[in-house]
């Protein structure tokens, strides 16, 4: 920390997209050995700024100084040559290739694969990011995929590491592990530019923060001296609506959804099979399912939605009717609704208009068809209604799904289901990578839906979210589900332990009576080094 020359200075960086000024004379100063937070809502210009710093966009005005010298970053390769590395929010990995192959491809200098694997092992061990070089990416969970991206950057020995919302897919323990990694990097004198919506994390981790709003720097501060609320106020320029507290006491309606000892092999040979999953969800209740990515959440969602049919009809009952053998549209006609984790590609077709995306989930139960013909005007009206009710911000009336920002598309796909007033809503990662304003709106909508008597099942890796909205929380681990416990009786530590596999299986007596009977031993996945 002796060197007081800033590592990187951005002076009056400006970038326009047509009429829109995405970055308006933005100044940023990052010192060596500093973890610097970049805060702002979706659309505030954070991505534009870091893309210029990483050579992906050329600024229209202003300049960048690296260790006091003006530099031009024509492309990411030039940025990497200086020592700037970046981990993107959306991963760019080839599913069919192994971890080592993916890392090797991204290196600027070609290297034999064996050396890549060896270095990868070293780096991942040194920074507490366990990875198996020989595994194909498609077998890995979201959290593991992110580790590849981070390790890939670290192997280039960066002086400045840019991270775009890295913790949105991690457990508290994984997050803590990542923070340890970042602190190690800081202590080595490297700088980190950390983009996040999670204000508590920023306060815990970062010693400086630059806050963007509508393309301009509105504030610079030391986040350790701020509260989450004050940071949020700077970001949005006004008070964020606090999510009103849950309503656990009165949530004692009849059982709406029952899953009874569901055993289901995964369709994906490397996926996680569901083993003896049982749960009950009452009317008016929000049930949260926590867990590390890749522990059977995808399979559970597929089973609940009917994308994959259960082995027996009686495995799932909805309002007393066995629905295990019914497909997703028949379940929708029984007033169930579903929001999958992936916005683009699963919940919505990227290159189709919103009205056609309304048809994706609504053709079975929304009256968009007359005599087999599509009623486009009704779909458009539906889009307008969702837009209005959920504050979806978009330019034209009916843009393609990929033209919406992540937060706005999420509001659309959640709103698309909510507007039907379903009696059962199953939603996976409802606020993944969504800005604070949109997240609070979505969570409030989930709570309101439950208060009106619907049953809501939230699969999430965001514990803050679950503690905020769930009445009861269960944990999924290696395809098994713990007994749901009332949220007020649970602590984050207890949930975190369950997420790590403690208390499952016969080896640990009596901790979770709901664990599957006669479950096989050996559920130890490679979780060492995470906690």
């Amino acid at each position: 920390m002796a060197d007081r020359t800033p590592l990187l200075v951005a002076e009056a960086l400006t970038r326009r997209f047509g009429a829109l000024v995405a970055n308006d004379s933005v100044d940023l100063r990052i010192m060596p050995g500093e973890i610097h937070a970049l805060l702002g809502e979706n659309g505030a210009g954070k991505s534009t700024l870091v893309k210029m710093l990483y050579g992906l966009l050329v600024p229209d005005g202003g300049r960048i100084l690296w260790r006091g010298e003006p530099v031009t970053l024509a492309n990411p390769r030039a940025a990497r040559a200086l020592g700037i590395g970046m981990v993107f929010q959306h991963f760019s990995l080839f599913d069919a290739m192994t971890v080592a192959e993916n890392v090797g491809l991204a290196l600027d200098e070609a290297e034999p694969l064996r050396d890549v694997a060896e270095r990868l092992r070293e780096v991942s061990r040194a920074y507490g990011l366990p990875l198996e070089p020989g595994r194909e990416v498609w077998r890995l969970s979201v959290g593991e995929r992110q580790r590849i991206e981070i390790v890939r950057c670290l192997m280039q020995d960066p002086h400045l590491l840019i991270l775009d919302e890295p913790t949105s897919v991690l457990t508290p323990q994984e997050t803590e592990g990542l923070f340890e990694t970042l602190r190690t990097l800081r202590d080595e004198g490297r700088a980190v530019l950390y983009i996040s919506h999670k204000l508590d994390e920023v306060r815990q981790l970062c010693e400086a923060a630059t806050i963007l709003r509508q393309g301009k720097v509105v504030e610079r501060c030391d986040p350790r001296g701020q509260t989450a609320a004050s940071l949020a106020r700077m970001m949005v320029g006004s008070q964020i609506a606090e999510v009103r507290l849950s309503h656990a006491a009165e949530a004692t309606g009849p059982v709406r959804l029952r899953v009874d000892n569901l055993n289901m092999p995964s369709e994906d040979p490397q996926g996680t099979s569901l083993k003896g999953v049982s749960l009950e969800l009452a009317a008016g209740e929000v049930l949260g399912i926590a867990g590390v990515a890749g522990n059977g959440q995808d399979e559970l969602f597929a089973a609940l939605s009917g994308e994959v049919l259960a082995p027996r009809a009686a495995d799932l009952t909805l309002d007393g009717t066995p629905i295990g053998r019914e497909g997703i549209n028949r379940r929708r006609r029984r007033s169930a609704a579903f929001v999958p984790e992936e916005r683009l590609g699963h919940a919505a077709a990227p290159r189709m208009a919103l009205s056609e995306n309304a048809l994706v989930a609504g053709h079975a139960a929304n009256g968009f068809l007359r005599g087999g013909f599509i009623q486009r005007d009704r779909m458009l009206n539906w889009v307008d209604a969702v837009t209005h009710a959920f504050d979806v911000r978009k330019g034209p009336r009916d843009p393609e799904a990929r033209d919406l920002s992540g937060g706005n598309l999420q509001k659309f796909v959640v709103g698309r289901e909510m507007l039907r007033k379903p009696r059962l809503l199953v939603v996976s990662q409802p606020t993944w990578g969504v800005d604070a304003g949109a997240a609070s709106l979505i969570r409030q909508a989930l709570l309101d839906l439950a208060r009106d008597g619907a049953s809501v099942l939230v699969i999430s890796q965001d514990l803050d979210e679950l503690f905020q909205i769930a009445d009861r929380i269960a944990v999924i681990f290696n395809g098994r589900l713990s007994d749901a416990q009332p949220t007020r009786e649970m602590t984050r530590e207890a949930v975190g332990l369950l997420m790590g596999g403690e208390g499952f299986g016969p080896a640990t007596p009596g901790a979770t009576p709901g664990a599957a009977p006669g479950a096989a031993p050996g559920q130890a996945r490679d979780k060492e080094g995470v906690a």
Binding site: P59, A74, E342, H346, A349, M352, V360
Partner: protein, 359 residues
Amino acid sequence: MALVLERRPEAGKWALLLSPLLAVVLTLVSSLVIFWMLGQDPLRALQVYFLLPVSDAWGLQEVMVKATPLVLIATGLALCFRSNNWNIGAEGQFLIGAICGGGVAVWTHGWGGPWVLPLMLAAGALGGMAYALIPAVLKVKLRVNEILVSLMLVYVADLLLDWLVRGPWRDPFGFNMPQTVTFAPEATLPLLFQGGRMNLGSVIALVVVVAAAVVMARTLKGFEIRLVGQAPRAARFAGFSDARLTLTVFAVSGALAGLAGVLEAAGTVRQLLPGFSVGYGFTAIIVAFLGRLNPVGCLIAGIFIAITFIGGENAQIVLRLPRDMTLVFQGMLLFYILACDTLILYRVRRRVPGVGAQA
């Protein structure tokens, strides 16, 4: 420095229409150069190729005769390709359609009635459908690549036809020529006009195009086809079964190719013989892409390609140019349309170092 392709944000629907038109213009310009290099008067050659075929009623009818199978097959292929199902074997389904329909004609020769023609059409369509379902079922059940299977089955169909017309179905009074009897009048399609060969098949093709256009644009099935092609996981979320859709689109495209085959047999050739097809099933792939995988587009593209077929025949006679010139045309056309698509939807940008140097 590197050349990069980046998506043009402003490229809209007009680009999809502009691209094939531009490709046609570029093909014409290039062919002018080729004619000149071949020592022909370029304008005269162009006139022979593109104007002569459409300059009289007889020529126009010939164009429609050629366009009919192309349009029928391409429309079916468009549905397939839209949903990411790669049926490359339409040629085989076309031949099987001709064999099944023609078989009815051979079998009923001498004792048929007015019921023969409908039976032939049904047999041809069903035969093509069944033949197309072979790669589809293998794909769905065993994950066998449908491109390979459908393509290889073309040669099976080709050899089957060869064997039939040399063996069991050979015309006993045909001087040992490898061909069937000439079909009886009740086994041939009625002509639409005197003094030409245009027959009921063209009307059928037109009806199919309209029906397919309505299905694609306005019905849930059309939406399903587009969704499965664009976003398979979203299609599953919508409750559509991709396996069932694969079977459906293969069945439909096979039936249309088979129908085209029996129409060709009953309407134009009026018997079965080796070399019965001039490669309609393969040319239809170009037609489908030139027509933007859109039924109406396939109609326009099919007519255009048919003109080059007739023009090529004219050029052989009038200008003594080789028949291969037609294939050169079609090759250039496909090349230009792919290039235009790329350059209209994307722009080439040189990544230039330096601040603010790029617009």
